[in-house]
Amino acid sequence: MIQGIPLEHFLIVSTIMFFIGVCGFIIRRNLITMLMAIELILNSVNINFVVFNRYLYPDQLQGQFFSLFIVGIAAAEASVAIALIINIYRKLQNIEVENVNEMKY
């Protein structure tokens, strides 16, 4: 099914996706959108792991496992992040990231 598709293509896709995530994280104001951007980043890393596993070490499962763990971490991170966001929302009545600057200086 993957014959003919070079490894590099996968990697390029995941790279672009990663940096779209980074870009999103930097430019969006909304905390939830930023969270989504993080999901994008994690997802692109996942792809890399899996692809490396498939192409370079097909006889092992490390890549998959790491992806699994990342998924787990992503889930944990999302839940905590959303809890925080809701708390921030309660305090500030919005979730604009610029307003969350109590800890400056």
Partner: protein
């Protein structure tokens, strides 16, 4: 040779008395401390006399007296050769000093029981007296120069404590401080002198240092600093130490002020014992000074001569009787120094040395007598000033008689002890230095004049208005007066030339009438002048004073030396050194250190804006930083 081990007790008894009365004195009745101290001192005195008797007269001394070290223990070791030992050294001058110190000290103790009666701090006074006596004894019996320095300092401190005995009186506090600091300054010279000496010779021991012809100075000749040889430096500096203690010009300023202390203290410390420590030191180092640093000996002679003249002139104008006596002491100390300055070494040549020690001995007796007499007068009229006194001979007969004897002695009237010792000095001076002889000859007349000025205005003249009729002091005070009067008369008959000489070998002495007769005459002339001017109240002195005008004022103000010193210390040291240093420390060095802190704070204040709280800025920075790192790793370092 260990027969003298008991001499240890001479110095240990005062120490024990100091500790006992100092620590427990508060708990007893004051008189207990007084009696205890006096008894202890009495025992020391008797022991000293026994020592002197057996040392001087207990054997055959045709080839000279031996130096005996009956006790010595290691106290501190610096290097293999530089060891401080604590010990006792007996030789003619130290035995003589033992006698002088214990005698005067015992008399002063006895006298103080009466004089200090009822004062607060009676016990303290006796404790300090014991401390002083201990230190002074330790000084004279020191077998090495470092022990001498140790006790030298202790003497300074006990003098400080005793001058400042009336510690609630600001003038006493100031005087004690001045005395301590001036002598401390001189002690610095002494210390540096010791350092140089020990560096050159590698020893502290007098036994090695003062041996004539010793080889330890072998390397000294080649050493010099600023063109002056090391030994001259060392000896001059040590002499400065001695000059400080003996209040030689220009370090004399503390002695007149030291009269703020109780009068017995003045008698003990500032007339008879401590102030002669400087003379003793020079005498102790005499062989070294004479052979290794002749230039220093010249200096000593001139300083002594100048001081004696200078002090005698000032003494004429003073009204405080204790100050007159203080300047008189200065003048007499000048004599002793001068005698050492003009002395040679060995036999007849060493006449000056012998004369100096002789004069030291007689002077201790009559000057202590004068001070104790003055104390008796002050005790009676409650004033220090001559213009508050007059006609006292009726009220204070014993004091009057003894005081007269002392005045006659110091004036050099024949057949009293002062005559003999002063005469020897004049002879020695004449043989070596005519100029110094002339000075001393003049001073002899001045001495007679100012002493009898004092005597006549106090005991003669018309009665003053007294608060209550002056009465003679109690027996406990007059006994020391009488004893010392007897000593003053007869001390001159001791065969000093056979006992205390520069090379420890006795020689025959003979009267030099060519010197003796003129000196007696000038003394009598001085007395006569005083008789004319002060026997009866008259306005001649005032007229004379007015005639001399400026000169008189300058003399009365002691040639403004106090002011000069005050200017130097207050203005220059305090204002122009200390204050800028303190300011510099706070405002430059500290400010610099604080400045480092403040700069850090400022910078952090400036850059804290970077910590904007904007998460996305941080994220960007993070990414940018990572990229920059990656770029540099890949393209720059590879």
């Amino acid at each position: 040779m260990t027969g003298y081990t008991y001499t240890l007790f001479i110095i240990m008894i005062p120490l024990i008395m100091f500790l006992v009365t100092g620590l427990l004195g508060m708990k007893w009745k004051p008189i207990v401390s007084g009696l205890l101290g006096t008894t202890g001192m009495g025992i020391s005195w008797v022991l000293s006399l026994v020592t002197a008797g057996s040392y001087f007269f207990g054997g055959h001394h045709a080839e000279g007296f031996q130096t005996i070290i009956p006790f010595e223990m290691k106290w501190l070791q610096f290097t293999d050769t530089l060891i401080i030992k604590m010990g006792i050294l007996l030789d003619p001058i130290s035995v003589m000093m033992l006698v002088v110190i214990t005698t005067i000290s015992f008399m002063v103790h006895l006298y103080s029981i009466g004089y200090m009666h009822g004062e607060t701090g009676f016990a303290r006074f006796f404790a300090f007296l014991s401390l002083f006596t201990f230190s002074m004894l330790g000084l004279v019996i020191a077998p090495n120069i470092f022990q001498m320095y140790i006790f030298w300092e202790l003497v300074g401190v006990s003098s400080f404590l005793l001058i400042g005995f009336y510690y609630q009186k600001p003038s006493a506090v100031a005087a004690s401080k001045k005395a301590f600091i001036v002598t401390r300054f001189a002690d610095l010279g002494f210390l540096i002198g010791i350092l140089i000496l020990s560096f050159v010779t590698g020893t502290f021991d007098f036994a090695k240092l003062t041996q004539p012809g010793t080889a330890i100075f072998g390397s000294a000749a080649s050493m010099s600093f600023l063109g002056i040889s090391a030994m001259t430096w060392a000896m001059t500096l040590i002499f400065i130490g001695g000059a400080g203690k003996s209040a030689m010009f220009p370090l004399h300023i503390w002695l007149p002020d030291a009269m703020e202390g109780p009068t017995p203290v003045s008698a003990l410390i500032h007339a008879a014992t401590m102030v002669v420590a400087g003379v003793f030191l020079v005498a102790r180092m005499f062989p070294v000074i004479h052979f290794q640093a002749p230039a220093t000996q010249e200096i000593i002679g001139y300083v002594g001569g100048f001081t004696s003249l200078f002090a005698a002139v000032i003494a004429i104008t003073q009204y405080d009787i204790k100050r007159v006596l203080a300047f008189s002491t200065l003048s007499q100390l000048g004599y002793m120094m001068l005698a050492l300055g003009v002395s040679g070494y060995g036999g007849e040549e060493g006449l000056g040395y012998m004369a100096s020690m002789f004069h030291l001995f007689t002077h201790a007796m009559f000057k202590a007598l004068l001070f104790l007499g003055a104390g008796s007068i002050i005790h009676a009229v409650h004033s220090n000033y001559m213009y508050d006194m007059g006609g006292l001979r009726k009220y204070l007969p014993i004091t009057h008689m003894t005081f007269l004897i002392a005045c006659l002695t110091i004036a050099g009237v024949p057949f009293l002890s002062g005559f003999y010792s002063k005469d020897e000095i004049l002879v020695a001076a004449l043989e070596h230095n005519k100029l110094l002889f002339a000075i001393e000859f003049l001073v002899a007349g001045l001495t007679a004049f100012y002493m009898f000025r004092l005597y006549f205005s106090v005991f003669w003249g018309k009665d003053r208005h007294y608060h209550h009729t002056p009465h003679e002091s109690p027996l406990v005070m007059t006994i020391p007066l009488m004893f010392l009067a007897v000593a003053s008369i007869f001390a001159g008959y001791l065969p000093f030339t056979e006992l205390v000489t520069s090379d420890k070998v006795g020689f025959e002495s003979h009267m030099n009438f060519a010197v003796a007769i003129p000196s007696v005459l000038i003394g009598l002339f001085g007395i006569g002048m005083a008789w004319i001017l002060y026997k009866k109240e008259s306005d001649v002195p005032a007229k004379l004073a007015a005639k001399f005008g400026m000169l008189y004022t300058a003399t009365y103000n002691k040639f403004y030396f106090d002011e000069i010193y005050l200017f130097v210390t207050k203005k220059i040291i305090f204002n122009y050194i200390s204050r800028p240093v303190a300011w510099f420390d706070r405002h430059i060095i500290d400010a610099f250190m604080v400045g480092i802190g403040l700069t850090t704070e400022k910078i952090s204040y400036q850059i804290k804006g970077m910590q904007s709280g904007q998460l996305q800025h941080y994220a960007f920075m993070f990414v940018a930083g990572t990229l920059a790192l990656a770029l540099s790793m890949i393209y720059l370092l590879m």
